[in-house]
C-alpha cells in the first residue's frame, strides 16, 4: 500500500469505526440558530482516548458541532439541537442534565488563547476553585502544568500575570487550566490557528501525551495537522439547498489513515488533495 508522505497515526486503532469504545454517540444531530439549520443530520462516534479531528472548509459547521459536546451553544440565544448526543449512554441534552456539570467533565480549549488576566497560578486554580475544591491546590496546579508541558517554563513565575506569557505558552496554560478540572474529554477549537509553527508542534506533541488519558476532539483548518495527530477524522462540508440556504453536513467519518489515503467520497478526496476548499 502506498502511503502519502505524511506521518499517520494509529496502527492500534481498530479498522472499523463500529469497533471503537464510544464516549460520545451522535445520532442524527441537527443544530439550529433560531430557524436556521446550521448543521444537518450528523452521525458519528467519538472513541475513548482517541483523537478525533473535524476538518472541512469555513462555514461547514464543524465548530458548531464541537460546541454541542459541552453545550457551549446553549449560550447563544435561539440555538438548539435536534437529534441526540449520548455521553456514555446519557443524553447530553436530556431534561435533567445540568450544562455546568457537562462542562466540568468536558473541557474546552479555544481558538485564540484566552487566559484570564490573573496570575498563572490563579488561572490553573480557577476551575478547581469554582468547582468547590480547596485542598491541595498547589499540587493540583503543579500536576496540571506538568501535564500541559508548561511547568518548567513557569514554575518560578506562578504569580506573574498570565498575559505576560507568549501565545504558545498561553495556549498551553489554557490546556493546563482545562486539565486541572480533571475532565474526561477535551474539545479543541482550532487550538493552533493563532500560533507559530514551533508553538504548534509543541501543542501537537502535547496532544499525543494527553491522548494517553483523555479523549480529544479537535477542529482544525490544517489538514496536515489532522493527518499528523488524529486517529479518526470527520470531514464536513456545506451544501446549498434548493432555497439557496447553506447547511453544514458530515460527509465522511473514518480512520484518519483512510480519509487521507482512500476516502470513499469524491468530495473528501477533492478537499484533501486541495482541489476545493
Amino acid at each position: 500500500m502506498t502511503q502519502p508522505n505524511v506521518t499517520l497515526r494509529g496502527p492500534d486503532v481498530p479498522n472499523t469505526p463500529g469497533s471503537l469504545d464510544p464516549v460520545f454517540t451522535v445520532e442524527d444531530l441537527s443544530v439550529f440558530y433560531g430557524d436556521y439549520e446550521a448543521v444537518r443530520n450528523v452521525d458519528m462516534m467519538i472513541g475513548r482516548r482517541e483523537i478525533t479531528a473535524m476538518i472541512g472548509p469555513s462555514g461547514c459547521g464543524k465548530s458548531t458541532v464541537l460546541r454541542c459536546f459541552n453545550r457551549m451553544n446553549d449560550l447563544i440565544p435561539g440555538a438548539h439541537i435536534k437529534g441526540k448526543i449520548l455521553y456514555h449512554e446519557e443524553d447530553l441534552y436530556g431534561d435533567h442534565v445540568d450544562p455546568i456539570e457537562v462542562r466540568r467533565r468536558i473541557g474546552m480549549v479555544f481558538q485564540k488563547p484566552n487566559p484570564f488576566p490573573k496570575p498563572i497560578y490563579d488561572n490553573v486554580a480557577y476551575g478547581p476553585r469554582v468547582n468547590g475544591i480547596k485542598k491541595n491546590m498547589d499540587s493540583i496546579v503543579e500536576e496540571a502544568l506538568q501535564k500541559a508541558a508548561l511547568w518548567d517554563e513557569v514554575k518560578d513565575k506562578l504569580k506573574q500575570n498570565a498575559l505576560s506569557l507568549s501565545g504558545g505558552q498561553q495556549q498551553r496554560l489554557c490546556i493546563a487550566r482545562a486539565i486541572a478540572v480533571k475532565p474526561e474529554v477535551i474539545l479543541m477549537d482550532e487550538p493552533c490557528s493563532a500560533l507559530d509553527p514551533i508553538a504548534t508542534t509543541k501543542i501537537e506533541d502535547l496532544m499525543q501525551e494527553l491522548r494517553q488519558e483523555y479523549t480529544i476532539l479537535i477542529v482544525t483548518h490544517n489538514m496536515q495537522q489532522a493527518a499528523r495527530v488524529s486517529d479518526r477524522t470527520a470531514f464536513f462540508t456545506a451544501d446549498v439547498d434548493d432555497a439557496g440556504v447553506r447547511h453544514g453536513r458530515l460527509v465522511e467519518f473514518d480512520q484518519t489513515t483512510r480519509i487521507f489515503t482512500k476516502p470513499s467520497d469524491k468530495r473528501t478526496e477533492d478537499y484533501i488533495t486541495g482541489r476545493f476548499g
Binding site: 449560550l75 466540568r104 479555544f110
Partner: protein, 296 residues
C-alpha cells in the same frame, strides 16, 4: 546594474505639498478645541481672581450668614454636599451596577421588553434634572413623607445619576471580551461565578471611572434641590440622614442673589471650592482608569 526598472532620474519622492484643504481642516479642528479650552481657562481665571480675597479658612470654617459677610462661610454647604454624594454613592452605585449586570449578562435582548428597558434608560439619562426635583418633591418628600432631609436629597440625586451609572457600567462590562466568559463557563463555572470572579473584577476600573464622573455631575446640581426647597441659611452640619441640609450649588446661588458685593466675592470663592472638589473627583477617576487599565 539595472535593479530599478525605472531610470534613477525618474524616481521622485519629493512631496508635492499637501493640498490646502488638509491644512484648513486641521486648523478647524484645533480652533474648535481651543474655544473649549480657552473659555474654561477664562472661567477659572475669572472665578479665581474674583474669589481670591475670600479664599481662606473663613470659607470652610463658618456657617452662612446674611448679616456679616466678613465671617460668613459655606461649611454647611460643603458638609451637605459630601453627605448627599456619599449617600448617593451608597445607593446608586450598587443598584446601577446590578442593573447593568442584568442588562448585559442576563437579559435576552431579542425580547421586546428588554429592548424597551434599554431605550428608556437612555431616555432617563436625558431627562432634565429639575424633573427629578419635581419627582423628589412630590413622591419622596411629600408622599413618602421623607421631608426636606438629606435622605430625600440623596434618593432624588440617586435617581438622577442611576441611568448614567447604568449606562457607563454597561459599557465597562461590555468591554470585557466574550472569550473570558467562555473560558470561565467552559471550566464548569456558573454564570454568577463567571460574573463575580471574571467579569466584575475586569470591569471595575471602568465602572469606577464612570460612576465617579456621574457623581461629579450630581455635585454641581442645584435645580433638583431648588425644587426640593432645601434651605440655604443652614447654620449647622447634617447630623444624620434625617437632618435638614443645604448643598454648595444652592449656597452659591443664594450668595449671588444677595445685593451686597461682599457676598458675590464669597460666591466666587465657593465656586472655587466646588470646582476643587470636582477636579479632585475627576483626577481620581483618571488615576483609577490609568492604574487598572486592562490589556487583553
Amino acid at each position: 546594474m539595472a535593479i530599478l526598472s525605472t531610470p534613477r532620474s525618474q524616481v521622485d519622492l519629493v512631496g508635492k505639498g499637501r493640498p490646502l484643504r488638509e491644512h484648513l481642516f486641521r486648523i478647524a479642528l484645533l480652533s474648535s478645541l481651543a474655544i473649549a479650552l480657552i473659555f474654561l481657562a477664562l472661567l477659572l481665571a475669572y472665578t479665581l481672581t474674583e474669589g481670591w480675597p475670600r479664599l481662606d479658612s473663613r470659607l470652610w470654617e463658618n456657617f452662612p450668614s446674611v448679616r456679616r459677610p466678613e465671617t460668613a462661610g459655606v461649611l454647611s454647604g460643603i458638609t451637605g454636599t459630601l453627605w448627599i454624594i456619599g449617600l448617593t454613592a451608597l445607593m446608586a452605585l450598587p443598584t446601577g451596577v446590578l442593573a447593568a449586570i442584568y442588562l448585559e449578562e442576563y437579559a435576552d435582548n431579542t425580547r421586546w421588553y428588554n429592548r424597551l428597558i434599554e431605550l428608556n434608560i437612555a431616555n432617563l439619562a436625558a431627562v432634565p434634572s429639575i424633573v427629578y426635583g419635581i419627582l423628589g418633591l412630590g413622591i419622596i418628600a411629600r408622599w413618602l413623607d421623607f421631608g426636606f432631609t438629606v435622605m430625600t436629597g440623596a434618593v432624588t440625586i440617586s435617581l438622577l445619576v442611576l441611568p448614567i451609572v447604568i449606562i457607563s457600567a454597561r459599557e465597562a462590562i461590555r468591554a470585557v471580551p466574550p472569550s473570558i466568559r467562555e473560558g470561565s463557563l467552559a471550566l464548569g463555572a456558573t454564570q454568577w461565578q463567571t460574573i463575580y470572579r471574571q467579569v466584575l473584577p475586569a470591569s471595575i476600573p471602568g465602572i469606577a471611572t464612570g460612576s465617579i464622573l456621574a457623581l461629579s455631575r450630581a455635585i454641581g446640581e442645584a435645580a433638583p434641590f431648588l425644587m426640593l426647597g432645601a434651605a440655604t441659611l443652614v447654620r449647622f452640619n447634617p447630623d444624620g440622614v434625617w437632618s435638614s441640609f443645604t448643598v454648595l450649588p444652592l449656597q452659591i446661588y443664594n450668595l449671588i442673589s444677595q445685593s451686597r458685593e461682599e457676598f458675590h466675592i464669597l460666591a466666587a470663592a465657593a465656586i472655587v471650592v466646588l470646582l476643587a472638589i470636582l477636579l479632585l473627583m475627576n483626577s481620581l477617576a483618571i488615576w483609577l482608569r490609568n492604574r487598572y487599565q486592562k490589556r487583553w
